[in-house]
Structures are given as C-alpha cells and as structure tokens.
C-alpha cells in the first residue's frame, strides 16, 4: 500500500518539476505566452486549468477503458476526448455563472480559452500512451495542472519585473518571453536528478 502511494507521489512530483508540462512537453504554450502579463490573471488561468484538467481526466479515463477499448474503437479517442473537454467546459461555465458570480467574474473569461488549450487534450492523450492506471492518471493530471499553473505564475512574475529593464526593441513581447522560458526550462532541468524515474 505504501509502495503504491509512493509511486503516485513520484508521478505527481515528477510531472510538476521534472517533466513540467510547459517547459518539457511544450503543452499549453499559446496561453502561456498570451496570458502571462500579470500575476493575478496568470493565477486565475492556472486555477481554471488545474480544475478542468483534473475533472476531464476523471471522466476520460473511465470512458476510454469502459467504452472505447471494449468496443475496439480506440481510433475515436481524439473525437471523444475533445468532445468531453468542450462539453465539460461549457457546463462548468453555466454552473459557476448560476451559483457563484464572484468566481465567474474571476474565472469565467478563461474558461472558453481552455477548450483550445492543448495541455488539457495533451494530458488526456499522454495517459493513453503511458498506460496509466486510474489513480496514476489522476495524480498525473493534478501534477500537470499544478505544474502548468506554477510555470505561468512564475513567468508572469518575471515579466512584471521585466517592465523596468531595457529589452532590445525587436525582442520585446513574445521574443523575450521565449528566451525566459528557455532559461526557466534550463533551471527546471536541475530537478532531474531528484527522483529516479522508471
């Protein structure tokens, strides 16, 4: 039992730091560049991603194992997963609009963007390739979401400071963001020695 728990913890930890979803797999780069100007918005987007990523994984795993695999229609995975994600995001939007207007104001603007955030679909495709069990998939989804939120918040923090420095003209905006992301990826590579994967 404790061995299993340790296994889950390693997956969780590794997806946050060592195989960070943005900095190693390049998933969800578009919003990572576009919404990382201010810390509060970055954090809001991060929260929305954690929530949607975890919940869609909770739906997609059983759907894959109990419906797609037994009927031998795995090739429909893309279609089914993106449909679940789009529907789920839509339902959540309606739900929080009705029950928590405050949360809707803070989170609502990010929800429609999440459907086309490749990180969500990417996580759903990666669990199939890696043949994770249900608890492993959930740990993986949660870790990925937190890793994404961590990276975008850190990036927003750096970009806020950067406003006071002299960046060459052509490099301003997306250019410098890429360079910073590269340096962040280098820094995150330092975590690689901490846990022995596989």
């Amino acid at each position: 039992m404790s061995g299993q728990f340790l296994d889950l913890f390693i997956i969780f930890f590794a997806t946050i730091f060592i195989n960070n979803i943005v900095l190693t797999y390049f998933l969800g780069i578009c919003p990572f560049v576009a919404v990382s100007r201010e810390i509060p918005t970055a954090l809001g987007m991060g929260m929305a991603v954690i929530f949607v990523m975890f919940m869609t994984m909770a739906i997609n795993w059983p759907l894959n194992q109990l419906v797609l695999v037994p009927f031998g229609v795995e090739y429909l995975q893309f279609l089914v997963f993106i449909f679940v994600i789009a529907t789920f995001v839509q339902i959540v939007e309606i739900f929080i609009d009705r029950f928590s207007p405050v949360l809707y104001v803070n989170l609502g603007v990010f929800l429609p963007l999440i459907t086309v955030n490749c990180a969500i679909l990417g996580v759903s495709l990666l669990f199939v390739l890696r043949e994770y069990t249900y608890p492993q998939s959930l740990a993986f989804a949660l870790g990925s979401g937190i890793g994404w939120a961590l990276a975008i918040t850190a990036m927003a923090g750096i970009r806020q400071k950067l406003r006071f420095s002299h960046v060459p003209k052509g490099l301003q905006g997306p250019g410098i963001t890429m360079i910073i992301a590269g340096i962040m990826a280098l820094a995150f590579m330092g975590f690689a020695g901490m846990v022995n994967l596989n």
Partner: protein, 202 residues
C-alpha cells in the same frame, strides 16, 4: 494581370508571410517547439497540419449554409477531429516509427489554434476555393517556420540534416539544441530577427 496582383496571390501571401503563424502571430506553438528537434518529424508534422487545415477549411466552407451559427464551434471541432484521426491512422499504418516519435502531438493538431482560427476567421464566410487557398497559405507558412527551426536545431544538435551527416567528426553536437530549452531559444532568436528586419512595433 500580373500574378502578384491577383486576389488569390494576396490571400496566399498574407497567410504565408505577412501573418506567419509561427513567427508573427505566435499560434500553434506547441508543435512548433515540440517536434522540431529533427527535420523528418517536422516535415511529417507539417504535411499533417497542411492536410488537416486545407481539408477542414474546405469542408467547413462547403457546409457553411447548413451549419447553425450557435453550435458552429462544436461542428468545427468535429470536422477537425475527423481529419486529424485520418492523419493519425495513416501515420500509424504506414510510418509507425514516425508516429511513435510524434506521440501525442499528432492528436494535438485538433487544438492547434491555426486550424480553428482559419475556420472561424475565413472559411465560415467564404466560398470553397478562396478558403482552401487561405488555409493552404497559412498552413504552409506554418510548415515553413517549423522547418526553419528544425533545420537549426538538427544541424547544431546532431550535425545532420534529414538524418544525413553534414558536419563531420570534428563537430561537437550542441546537446542543448535537442533539449527543450534549445527550442525556446531558437524560436526567440527567429522572432527577434524577423521583427528587427521588418522593424515593426511589438
């Protein structure tokens, strides 16, 4: 009339160069960075994206009179997913090694903002041929940016081009170029270069 002045050329040129997806509009970056550590993968990915963008734009343009405006996003998703499945199945059947190397990124063509963006911005309100041309311009511009990045990364990281040795034994590979940080640096440098040449405001 000269080729450069036709409407068709204009549509193509704007998509290919003026609004280049990878370097200028910063769209579809996931695969721009992820598959560009060698040219073979990038080339396959480029063909996949060109195929999916052109077919789904044409298809959506054909279907445009009967797509209900309220659910158009869902219809786009379905059309795009279908063509992506075609690409994935073809790769799995005929090029299993490339398919394995590309991993989840083939499926991620669905969430590539370029495909959806072309459907929403152009195909839904234009006839079939211009829609096809527009999709072709944008996606081949994207393919161009993919190959430009991959050429640098493969040359410096492995000393090869398309798997063939270009730089000899004396070359010490820059391992960083194959690793994720290299992708960010190369794209950052290209953006810098292009913006400096064209001298536009950010």
């Amino acid at each position: 009339m000269e080729l450069r002045q036709t409407r068709e050329w204009k549509i193509f040129y704007e998509g290919f160069w003026k609004n280049n997806a990878g370097f200028r509009m910063m769209l579809g970056l996931c695969s721009t960075l992820a598959v560009t550590n060698n040219l073979v993968n990038s080339f396959t990915m480029s063909l996949g994206v060109i195929f999916v963008t052109c077919s789904s734009s044409s298809m959506i343009s054909i279907l445009r009179p009967i797509i209900p405006p309220r659910v158009r996003m869902a219809v786009f998703m379905m059309v795009i997913s279908t063509f992506t499945i075609v690409v994935d199945q073809v790769l799995k059947a005929f090029y299993p090694t490339v398919s394995a190397a590309l991993g989840p990124y083939v499926g991620l063509i669905i969430t590539n903002c370029i495909v959806m963006g072309r459907a929403e911005a152009f195909a839904i309100s234009n006839p079939v041929f211009p829609s096809f041309l527009d999709a072709f311009g944008v996606s081949s511009g994207y393919a161009f940016s993919l190959l430009m990045i991959a050429a640098i990364r493969e040359l410096l990281g492995f000393g090869t081009m398309f798997g063939m040795t270009v730089l000899g034994q004396w070359w010490t590979p820059w391992v960083i170029m194959i690793l994720p940080p290299g992708a960010f640096f190369v794209l950052g440098m290209y953006i810098w270069l292009l913006r400096s040449i064209s001298g536009e405001e950010s």
